[in-house]
């Protein structure tokens, strides 16, 4: 238990670098995916733009959704959002904080994909090859003589060197260099803009809502831990429940065997030691199991407990033993006097 607590604390306190590591890995994965992808421009006037825009925009969307889905906390967010308020009011600031921190991490891979695509240049070249200014880059005098469709057909083949036949109009390398230069300029501008935005958001935040931020961080953390602890407690309970259930079943079987006279003395002879054992062991084994049951011992009650946990979470106020009946608030009762003295444990 102590070991898990140490690891847990290490990860939590070092969460900054842990999350930075995750973001770095996702960025690398995205770049690797791009380099493994075989870009294949159709080189046809109507299809170039559609293909390129599809490659530029669809994988980022997929990566973003994947990033959200793979984050374990998304179900926690959904649960917290949709639960009935019950005795514990919902705090929209906490929900916003949880969503923002998940979205920020999920945005890393799409941004890297878009940046790498623009810096590489093939996509942009494929999309905008028909929009190259032939007048300034190539033989401008020949342009008026060409019908628009013929010009479009010629220029659409710029990304494909093996079928390009317009060198008399515009040198292919010139067009490729021009478009790649613009693409790379756009790519670096995009990278600069996103880093600037991230920096502003991160650095300007302490100037404003710092206290609110600390609260949201604490309570979103709390919700996560509480959910895990509830699952842990339920598992303990289920285990104890099952053990006692099986124990009782065996005891009942023994009891039946005792009552059944068909086996007579033999049954008594064989049953007595087991009954004696069963009589002795509850005192040590099943006692602690029954303690773990916390008084909830049948299916109906357990179902009621689980329903109640979802529909009406307890308020965030410890130290109250009053039942949930009546107006549900035990605030009128006087608090028992507290006698503890604060001790500060330093683990440094």
């Amino acid at each position: 238990m102590d070991k898990f607590r140490m690891i847990f604390q290490f990860l939590q306190s070092n969460q900054e670098s842990f999350m930075n590591g995750i973001c770095g890995i996702m960025a690398l994965a995205s770049a690797q995916m791009y380099s493994a992808f075989d870009f294949n421009c159709p080189c046809l006037p109507g299809y170039n733009m559609a293909y390129s825009m599809g490659i530029l925009l669809t994988p980022p969307l997929v990566l973003f959704l994947l990033g959200l889905v793979m984050n374990n906390n998304i179900s926690m967010l959904a649960e917290e959002w949709k639960r009935p308020a019950g005795r514990r009011a919902k705090d929209p600031a906490v929900l916003r904080y949880m969503f923002c921190s998940m979205a920020q991490r999920a945005l890393i891979a799409p941004v890297v994909w878009v940046a790498v695509t623009l810096l590489d240049g093939k996509c942009f070249l494929c999309a905008f090859c028909t929009a190259v200014p032939v007048a300034t880059l190539g033989n401008g005098s020949l342009v008026p003589g060409l019908p628009a469709t013929e010009l479009a057909r010629l220029l659409a083949r710029v990304p494909c060197p093996e079928i390009y036949d317009g060198n008399w109009l515009l040198a292919r390398e010139v067009a490729v260099r021009y478009l790649r230069c613009i693409s790379q300029a756009l790519g670096w501008s995009f990278v600069l803009l996103t880093t600037l935005l991230a920096f502003v958001v991160r650095s300007v935040r302490p100037c404003f809502t710092q206290a609110a931020f600390l609260k949201s961080k604490y309570w979103s953390h709390y919700i996560d831990i509480e959910r895990k602890l509830f699952d842990e407690t339920c598992t303990e309970h289920a285990k104890a429940f099952a053990k006692v259930c099986i124990q009782q079943f065996f005891e009942a079987m023994n009891h039946d065997l005792e009552l059944g006279h068909t086996h007579g003395v033999l049954a008594t002879a064989t049953a007595t030691p087991t009954t004696a054992e069963a009589a002795q062991s509850p005192s040590d084994r099943t006692e602690e199991e029954k303690e773990k049951l916390r008084g909830i011992t049948d299916q109906g009650t357990m179902n009621k407990l689980l329903t109640s946990w979802h529909e009406c979470k307890p308020p965030l106020r410890l130290g109250q033993e009053a039942p949930l009946m009546g107006n549900g608030w035990a605030g009128s009762e006087p608090r028992p006097p507290r006698k503890e003295v604060a001790t500060y444990f330093s683990k440094v």
């Binding site: 306190s13 670096w188 710092q210 206290a211 029954k290 308020p315 965030l316 001790t343 500060y344 683990k347």
Partner: protein, 344 residues
């Protein structure tokens, strides 16, 4: 187990070494980025300079912002700068120290990019090929000015038909590369000399002030980490108690409703399950909660931590720290020390 504790303590005690590691990692990433970037000079008159200079300056700016982003201490510094003074007055010297340390580390990756670009030479050749004086090279004597400009614009592109295998192109390209590398090495030398002087001469000026500022900036960082860690512990125990309370209050409700049927030879009705408070009274559970056990108290604690940090004086009575922490019983003697229990 011991390894984790040692690593944990190491990271906690030397945030400077962690930051140095991140700085080196970012520099390595910069080198990799530069080598995998496909340089593509447009070889057109007006675009060359824009592209070349843009590539020399934009990535360093982005890398500088990245360096500030991944450094945790920049956020800590901003928080320390913007917090209300409260019981602990602010020392601008510490903030200046933290700022300069953050900036120094963030400048490493951009400088690596700029030096690589200059020593490699492609950026410089692309940006300044049109600005070369044609008088220096004899091959341009029999070309018209516009032809010369066109030729010079194409110098960075070796494979272009107009300038392929031309000795004039090679001459201009060599000249510009030589200039670029000279500038690159000069900047490198200058930076190293400045860093060396700054490091060697610093002890001559205000060494004690420097030591104090370094200590307190490290302290601020550690304090923030420990506060987060303590909040984690607290949240865990809060949640534990909440869950146990929930289970026990379900029982009470059921008892009140008379829904608990006679158990079949199992638990006798009179046996009470152990009260949760008994479970946690001994030892770490309640102590971790430190008598903060409701939402309002936790919110109040967090607001007070932000708006009115306690003074850096551990021998003072806790009563003097303000109303936020008064949910404990009053401390008996005014000179009572807080217990420091160190886990070894």
């Amino acid at each position: 187990m011991d390894r984790f504790r040692m690593l944990f303590q190491h990271l906690q005690s030397s945030s400077e070494s962690v930051m140095n590691g991140i700085c080196l990692l970012l520099a390595a990433v910069t080198v990799k980025m530069y080598s995998s970037f496909d340089f593509n000079c447009p070889c057109l008159a007006r675009y060359n300079a824009l592209y070349g200079l843009g590539l020399l300056l934009t990535p360093p700016l982005a890398l500088f912002l990245c360096g500030l982003l991944v450094n945790r201490q920049s956020v800590v510094m901003m928080e320390e700068w913007r917090r209300p003074a409260g019981h602990r007055k602010k020392d601008l010297g510490i903030i200046r120290y933290m700022c300069s340390s953050v900036l120094q580390r963030a400048l490493a990756a951009p400088l690596v990019w700029i030096l690589l670009a200059l020593l490699d030479g492609k950026c410089f050749v692309c940006a300044f090929s049109n600005s070369v004086d044609p008088e220096k090279f004899l091959d341009f004597a029999n070309m018209t000015p516009s032809q010369v400009q066109l030729f010079l614009a194409k110098v960075p592109c070796k494979e272009d038909e107009m300038v392929k295998d031309s000795p004039a192109r090679k001459a201009v390209s060599r000249y510009l590369r030589c200039l670029s590398q000279a500038i690159g090495w000069s900047i490198t030398l200058l930076l190293i000399v400045v860093a060396f002087l700054a490091r060697c001469l610093r002890p001559c000026f205000d060494q004690t002030v420097f030591l104090q500022r370094r200590y307190w900036s490290n302290y601020v960082d550690l304090e923030q980490k420990l506060f987060d860690e303590t909040c984690c512990e607290h949240a865990r125990d809060f949640a534990h108690r909440c869950v146990l309370h929930f289970f026990s209050s379900m029982q009470s409700e059921l008892r009140a409703l008379g829904l608990r049927r006679e158990p079949a030879g199992g638990i006798p009705e009179s046996q009470e399950p152990p009260e949760p408070s008994e479970d946690l009274d001994g030892g770490s559970g309640k102590a971790h909660l430190r008598a903060i056990s409701s939402r309002e108290q936790v919110d109040h604690l967090l607001s007070t931590w932000y708006s009115s940090k306690p003074p850096l004086d551990l021998t003072a009575s806790p009563r003097l720290w303000g109303p936020g922490l008064n949910h404990r019983a009053p401390v008996a003697a005014p000179g009572t020390r807080l217990c420091h229990q160190v886990d070894v």
